[in-house]
Subunit: 222 residues, 2 copies
Amino acid sequence: MDKTALFKLSSGLYIVSATDGEHTGACVINTALQVTSEPLQLAVTVNKKNYTCGVIKEAGHFTLTVLSQKADMPLIGRFGFKSSRDFNKFDGIETETSSMFDPYTLEGACALIVCATVQTVDVGTHLMFIGEMTDAEVLSDDKPLTYEYYHSVLKGKTPPKASSYIAGADPTKVTKVADKANMHHFRCTVCGYVYETPATVLPKDFKCPICGFGPDKFEQID
Amino acid sequence: MDKTALFKLSSGLYIVSATDGEHTGACVINTALQVTSEPLQLAVTVNKKNYTCGVIKEAGHFTLTVLSQKADMPLIGRFGFKSSRDFNKFDGIETETSSMFDPYTLEGACALIVCATVQTVDVGTHLMFIGEMTDAEVLSDDKPLTYEYYHSVLKGKTPPKASSYIAGADPTKVTKVADKANMHHFRCTVCGYVYETPATVLPKDFKCPICGFGPDKFEQID
């Protein structure tokens, strides 16, 4: 069984967010799908360990922000590699409110889809929320960010809680560029950020600009 | 509510096939998704009106063929715009058998994923089959065919039974090329095939090379 066959499945990258009035959760997912057209229904799948999963369950609705190719790693790192348990991910960034009162950001977004949950399916480690679309908006003409683009161009990593995480199989590859032969690359094992430097070690006080972890979380690629 | 926001969701294009020993079904879907990694589970969503839906339900397993950019319109037309009720779609093409005995073709394929159904979810017009992956194989290095590529490069159409069909909103657009200014284009309203000709009418005995319908099913684009 060659698990890397799963890397051939295509998907986008999204932020799913919700608030139940008291709690607010938002996280990055690649598991959003239109399942029917009459009525318009979408499915999103979220790890039960994610704070956002509990908030969506409690709220009974969710807002899906479709990320565009303009979404940068700091934005993806904020929503994808940190927990809403620890801080409000919308703090300090421009935030709008959807028609279900869920927060979302226009930053790096190309579309917005708002859903009222009509069915929750337990799929083991994750819950799948099937929602009827109640509102939708195109936010920009920017191209949607695909998971393939995230891996191949942004050099992003898949966190262990993601549906598509496969231990030991990493779709991330750094392409060596000829004129950069003397540069070395260090990859953050937490978020996938790649740091380029002529040095062969990272300074002790170096911190990942995305997730904030130090040099002990970095692995040298070349 | 702007339904075209749904065109910003990314997905691939697949053939899902199954046999229950007596009946064989296969159809094109764009609704395949990895939902968990422990265990490896996938979800596929199929219209209840599709013959293949009943076969998967009966069989208790399904085989997913990930289409590559080498998949051509005749292949997609055969599996996506005709019914397994009327003929065996594998007749006359090179067919392999998966470890669950489901037929599949290597033509235009880049990966194979075989699943045993563990849960069936009724989502209205469609059934969602959640399956545990029992086998997987990479078939070629060709790039997966995304739904976006199907629409923008292959000029493919979305059939009314598809999850992502939106009446009146057509993601298919034909880009006019300057040196083809004197050519006219006719699009098959059944399968989306575009025929280029200097003539302003189609011959009466013209037949769509993909789905076989005549000139009355064609609309002139320009």
